[in-house]
Symmetry: C2
Subunit: 415 residues, 2 copies
């Protein structure tokens, strides 16, 4: 596989980008040679694509099924009953739909936590993007043993997943997973150098309950179990003390900011500038489609920046460059892929932005435009791991994915 | 002009929509007859388009010119110097670009306040959408007399503007327009039945200064001058006491919620549910592109709903139906156009949504999808006043608008 992108705008200059196998082999002007595919990139700008650091991909099937409700009503009477009807087939098509939406909005990777992870793997293999698939631990669930069996089966196949897919240990949260299990995961993660993906300090109740039970904050509790490390992907991280922030910085934990979900569920306010200024790793995620309700990293960047400004720091609280970095390069680093920046030798993950989108004009500052003005309509092409997944907004197999996903969504209503 | 939309989804049912002249002439199944244009609407859903109730359209040329700064630095050192270089030609192409972006994101009307309003009129006439054009009053400006001359010239031509364009009196704000001028505008507005468009209670400083100077809140001050009425379009309305809310309700003022601008400039928090539950008129606007930085009503709806939830009311604070109503029908009512709902006899303003956009699947609740999931990529066609302005995302003259706007944007940098 080889691709030549001609006359594309990169960091303010027009150039050519050559891709061989799955890496960027050359960047320069007037590149010639033998390439299987040559793309005219005039009027397009190349940027690293987004890394969605927390997702429940197949929840696309639950998009709009229930909104504007109290958490307890929403979970008990709508989300959990519908999730109880999810079949492996649903997970496959729901995840395909999620991958389609992510490709169309410039996302090349997602960090997932959901049921039937083998089906998520299959959907990611077929869609062409990158993902970390969580081996879910949910001791509080009657299906906990089934989940553990799925995890073992997945772990057995870990060497057959291909180079786009990683596995993570995915304990759901401190209030649904037993202390003993968390300690085991901490040990396994360290021995095997496998990442851990958890919902952490998402709600005020989680914080209060943890203080009651353990006399420690959720962050300090995880640290006491040996889970706080650079292998930890801590989704939400909304209810943090200053001491928690310091622990997160020291242990090099990757936090995941999800403003849309946090606001929609009224979970709380992520302290973007406190974390960022303290030198913590901050990335962005979308959460699942029941609490957002899309997978657009454009929404997360814009709302994240705006929330950071009004809530804590005023208009200078964060810059568009910082926000774009968190949504791209910081994510790639957290995910452990040698990507996130367009440079010779790096993995060939590239998003092409259509400079003829009205939202990209005027072009005084393209990064500002991407963060504050653009939406998915501005993404014209997506290349992941050296393969073209979307060109001129067309994705292969799109129609079938939509039809199958609609069919799956219907039976979730129990009709 | 006559159009037949076949097999389009409307309120959950497939039907045909017939348009003759500028009105919806029939809605039913199997409509036949002589139509100049027949559109196959299979896989599309019809909704009323958005009404953008506060805008400075030509500021598209300043998109991204300066962000992430304190208000004073931002205005004095970046926005005002660039605005000082704006020519009538710039206003024309900047507004054409704004109209293009609005058409592409499903907006059929905007309520504008900016310089060289005759050029805004010309751009709106050429673009095909609806607008209210503000006759700006800015006593604090050295150019105040020039603005008044422009206003008089525009007023003379008020009967030649066509049926898509209205004029409003647009005093900039209580701190830039003298009391005497505001009183005159109140009288003229009542005599001539012309709307008044003003920035009101946008910042804490405006509120504090008004209390110091007039011993009243900005809202109470405007009421004392006779300006609070159903003819008033009050942009921002962020700093309100409970008494202000009661006055706004009694006087039937139309408030304009602009969450993106309010958050980006850290102006303050609009009390959506207090206003809404009190029975006040709430609409949405985008503000100009320097403080947002786009004209997408999708962003306003989503961020507005999310902000309303976290800030004041929790997850049940507002419903997607309420939010969509505010962005469409409430806007049309505030603007005084007989539109905002798709019904026989109403003005033919229709947005077609592509149900094959991944963000519109699953389709459990299309209004929820529009508010929480969709972006401009989901809008496939826009009809305004019985004319097709966009079909399959193509707008006539697009390329020229982008080229001319880019050219205009360059000289604003003073290069």
């Amino acid at each position: 596989m080889s691709i030549l992108l001609k006359h594309v705008l990169l960091n303010g200059k027009q150039c050519d980008i050559a891709i061989r196998q799955n890496r960027i082999s050359e960047i320069g002007s007037g590149i010639h040679g033998d390439f299987e595919t040559v793309i005219n990139g005039s009027g397009k700008a190349a940027f690293p694509p987004f890394y969605n650091m927390h997702c429940h991909a197949a929840m696309t099937l639950l998009r709009g099924i229930a909104d504007d409700m109290e958490l307890f009503d929403w979970l008990n009477n709508h989300i959990w009953p519908a999730e109880g009807r999810l079949t492996p087939e649903d997970i496959y098509w729901g995840t395909r739909l999620a991958c389609l939406e992510m490709i169309k909005s410039g996302t090349a990777y997602f960090n997932d936590m959901y049921f039937h992870p083998h089906e998520t793997v299959r959907a990611v293999q077929d869609s062409g993007i990158r993902a970390a698939i969580g081996m879910i631990y949910l001791d509080a669930s009657p299906q906990a043993d089934l989940f553990k069996r799925h995890n073992s089966e997945l772990w057995e196949k870990r060497n057959e997943l291909g180079d786009r897919i990683r596995l993570t240990y995915a304990p759901h949260a401190i209030y649904t997973v037993e202390e003993k299990t968390l300690e085991q995961i901490a040990e396994l993660s360290a021995e095997q150098n496998v990442q851990v993906h958890i919902h952490l300090a998402e709600t005020a109740r989680e914080y209060a309950d943890c203080m009651d039970k353990h006399n420690r904050s959720p962050v300090a509790y995880l640290d006491s179990l040996g889970l706080l490390s650079k292998r930890l992907l801590a989704a939400h991280s909304v209810h943090l003390t200053d001491d928690d922030v310091e622990l997160i910085r020291e242990r090099e934990v990757h936090t995941v900011f999800m403003p849309c979900s946090n606001y929609k569920l009224s979970s709380g306010k992520f302290r973007f500038n406190k974390l960022s200024q303290s030198g913590c790793h901050v990335t962005f995620g979308t959460d699942g489609c029941a609490s957002n309700n899309n997978l657009s990293m454009f929404d997360e960047m814009k709302f994240g920046a705006l929330a950071a400004k009004l809530e804590y720091g005023g208009p200078t609280a964060c810059s568009s460059a910082e926000i774009f970095y968190a949504a791209t390069q910081a994510g790639a680093e957290a995910a452990g892929f040698d990507a996130g920046i367009i440079q010779t030798g790096k993995l060939a993950d590239i998003m092409l932005i259509d400079l003829d989108s009205p939202m990209m004009v005027a072009d005084h500052n393209l990064i500002s435009n991407l963060v504050y003005a653009a939406d998915s309509s501005c993404v014209s092409s997506l290349i992941c791991n050296g393969k073209i997944l979307m060109h001129n907004r067309i994705v292969e197999g799109e129609k079938e994915i939509l039809e199958q996903a609609r069919k799956c969504a219907r039976h979730l209503l129990g009709k």
